[in-house]
Amino acid sequence: MAVEAASSTVFALSLAAISALTLLLLRHYLPIRSTPAYLLLPIFLALALPCSIILLVPIDLATNSVEDEDGVARGISLPDGFMTAMWRIAYWLTFVLTWYDKFHEFCASFMPNDFPGSFCPFSVITSILVIARLELAFSIQSAPTCNTN
């Protein structure tokens, strides 16, 4: 129990550190105030999510490397259902963001000028949030059964 609490705390702190470092990186390369939000948010997610994947892989390995069903994992481990949910969210958001720059170019080619508040990137942001919400809901719903796609 204490180990689970400690693992969750470490995981949460690591995510916060990843977010902070990503923001610093963005600040280093981009003029934050003049970059529109519909670009900042996808860029932030496209950097933060891969970092969280690099964090998830070792936790996943430690969590599921126990041979016995009643065994206790070493190191930082998280519940299996939570791991599955995190993987689903991280993977699908990353999948959508992989195509974001193509989508951005596609929208830009239809617009004569740069477009503050255009519906195209706004719809992408909306779809990202909808996907995240759906994945979270689906994962919570399937948590008792676990281990399925």
Binding site: L30, I54, V57, D60, L61, R74, R88, N113, N149
Partner: protein, 572 residues
Amino acid sequence: MQYQLILFACAIAVFVYYVLTNGFHASSIKGTAIALAYAWGLILAIYLMGHGLVVIPRRLYQSASLSARLRRLQTHAPRVHDKMQDSIDEHDTLEVQVMELQRRKTGTALDFKDWIEELTDMSALPESRAARAPIARVADSGVPHVITERYLADLTRKLKRAQHKRIRFLEEWDSLVREAQDLQTTLDAASSKKLDFGRSTDSSLASKITILTPYTRYHLHANILPAIRLIWSFIFALASACIIWSEIFKRAVPAISVVGLSIVHHPRATERGKIGFAGQLMAGAWLCYMCAAALISIREVKVWGNRALVRRHTYAESACWYATQVAKLTVPLSYNFITFLPKDIYEETAFHRFLGKLINFTSLGSAFSSFFPIFILVPVFASAFNLYGRIKRVFGFGFLDDDSDDNPSGFATGGWREGRALIERERFGASALGLSDQRPPHNHNTAETFAPYADSPPRSDQASPQSTPRRNGSPSRPDATVPTSSRTGPTPSRGESPHAAGDEEEGDSNFFQEFAHRVKNTFDTTDKPDFKINFTKPKWLNIGDGGDGPSDARPGPLDRLFKGKGGGGLRL
């Protein structure tokens, strides 16, 4: 737009074909999409990672020697300087067009008055620069008689890109010059063993606290940091070898996968996990290194050369593109990484249950995932033996900007000597303008002048107007790519004219001293020309030879041509 539409239409066509042949099953479509995305990502990731695994240790090894680093910088300097010049010229050309648009008061220009005013604000052309722009360039500025929306849209996009490109290459040039200066200062401090970079004009608190004395600073930069780089280069070389070994043998003989052995510390444990905290840290480190190797290669591939990361002024499209590449490469690399471990461990992970089952659903997918990574040997050998450079020499173009030993002698690119001359000129040009900290001046108007160092507010004592002759004298700036035999002659003299405006404030004696030193330096670094002119006198010149003075025992041919004595006249 047509390209995007064609691409979209092809995607729709493939999707329709797939649905017609296989039926509309959401899970199979999802599985196919995931498998295809993984395959494409893995091809890219393995190729880029293979290149990066060689580049990282090699770069660290080469940068361990200060003089080699300086030489590399000097070799690259002409190319960077040319690019900077081109970007400035391109930006100026577009600004001339904007100026011309602003001047037009009749016809279609009136319809787009607001847009033209926005363009003018974006380019932020001050009156002084507008007055200095050559009139001849306005005449052929390329502005059409009838202005259309499409033309203005193109101009807006081009102007934005040109601004970012200009800032990018200005920053690249300035950071190259600064690094070269620091290296030169460090090398010059070898005798005195006291190092001071001279950047002490900051008034912030951090600069007032001196952590290092000049003596310790010298040893840090001259000895300790190079040694650290050398040690890390060996460590990374070993890590690269382990990753390549694991990629090749993970399927055939999993037990000898070095990466797997370094992570699984308790292989025989049953009641507790086989991987502990130390194993997790190792796994994180391996994965970070693999991702870093892949991402470092992205910055070197020339195909994507238009996109660059610039401090504080990265173009939004470039930033978006780089971020998506990070996202694209991480998932395939992560899955590829967990396959280094024994099968009974990685098949139990949530990652494998989520992704791996879909990838390995078909035997083709499973075989691809297992055997394709052996292909990593191709980029590794290509990078290790500089095959990209050879391809470039054979075919005349290259697609990877592997600058490790591409053209080490600097043949036909101006060479390191020209680079050194350019850097020296930049140094003494900055000091002649009174910029004591040898950094470019800083201005809020980022569209107008180069201002990447935005950590502190601009200081009133910095002479920003003095920068404008330096940066904006592009029509009169000398072209760096001049032929070898004549490059040093006209270059210093032409290079003086943009700086003349700032001389009066400095004091004549100091300027002339700097100028003389610079000219002397330039001539000292000149190569003697390779061609040999045979100055033997032809027989017809021997007529009237005795008329010359006693001091001219053997007058040269030029003397005879221009003295006009006896038979020494110029014959046409």
